[in-house]
Symmetry: C3
């Protein structure tokens, strides 16, 4: 989007990105505490936990996807979002495997979430520099994110 179109939503987006960051902090705290828990046993428990973990980060993912897409450029954001869906599918299927094998962790798709978060933050910082200093980096940010989106494919 043009930077002028963001006049009415830039603060909302900034608070949204902040809240997403806070959600990640909460999720890490849970993960640190969950080390000593025994894993889920029955098939229902496993699938329920897998679904629960996926759903829990879903609003955070949606918020970051849209702020990254609106504040910088939709193409790399949607690409990262697609990769996230693939990673989430592998995570969900991995949880349904045999009990003996180690279960996936609490949090997944960290790299893709970080990419979307950095995109959003860059867009917000650029809005501020454009407003206060008249310097608009948006074109460079878009070029860099488009180029670096391909790096997300590296496993």
């Amino acid at each position: 989007m043009d930077i002028d179109d963001l006049d009415n939503v830039i603060f909302l987006g900034a608070v949204t990105v902040l809240s997403a960051l806070q959600n990640v902090f909460f999720a890490y705290t849970v993960q640190n505490e969950s080390v000593h828990q025994r894993p889920a046993n029955t098939a229902f428990d496993r699938v329920s936990v897998a679904n629960h973990n996926c759903i829990e980060v879903y609003p955070t993912f949606l918020a970051l996807l849209w702020t990254a897409g609106l504040f910088v450029n939709q193409a790399p954001a949607a690409f990262a979002g697609l990769l996230y869906l693939v990673v989430r599918h592998k995570y969900f299927v991995g949880y349904l495997g045999e009990n003996s094998q180690s279960l996936p962790g609490f949090f997944f798709g960290k790299r893709l979430m970080a990419f979307l978060f950095i995109m959003s933050t860059a867009g917000i910082v650029n809005y501020a520099t454009n407003y206060f200093l008249g310097i608009n980096f948006l074109f460079y940010i878009q070029t860099v994110t488009k180029a670096s989106a391909a790096l997300l494919l590296i496993p």
Copy 2:
């Protein structure tokens, strides 16, 4: 919205709709596994499960509501959303009933979610045909969805 206004968000919307579809797949997997679970017993368990099931699909509902409304037309989308709220209320209240009666299933409002999903998909497909082939079906899609929204009232 005009089809030109969607230029900056169409990919984001497409990924959002895809992720909603994946959420539904996850929910069905949980439902299939939950057949052999014993039902919740105490009043707190029941109300907690009912709230949990409602909250779990809430972001998916919001995402489909807004994509359907923005990509096609807000009136049928908001109408389906209102019906969804009614269905959700009946689901929640039904869960609080006596333990002896059968509990409602894991997933509810399937028809309304499907309606919103088809609206969103039609809007995205129409954007693609408009872009690549220059054919814009949006007016027909809007007419069909407005007419078929009344069919959602059939119990």
Copy 3:
């Protein structure tokens, strides 16, 4: 935003605000039932419950934040959102304390959520009066919300 920009989303926003109100009703029902439950014991249980309670209201918070910001004015909405993040942090940290002390309740940030809800509702009502009666209170609503946002700082 200008009131004319809302033509395409006003119904979607109205349904969103309604659904947020319904979520709050569900949450209160759970809270009323949870009085006689024994509190969580282990550190993992506590942090898991704290994260769960925060995540459960997160989509409701995001929906109210954006509807309040778009329908009235982004500055007071973003300010209330920031305060909500602070309250949420205190809530989460308070949950991690010693088991002997009383745990925080199920629902938090009631005042901030109510502020965002009233802002959203005022914006929707104003859209209706502008459409049907030609009376536009938006400027007064914006002034009142900007002035009253500072009152949210009172503990």
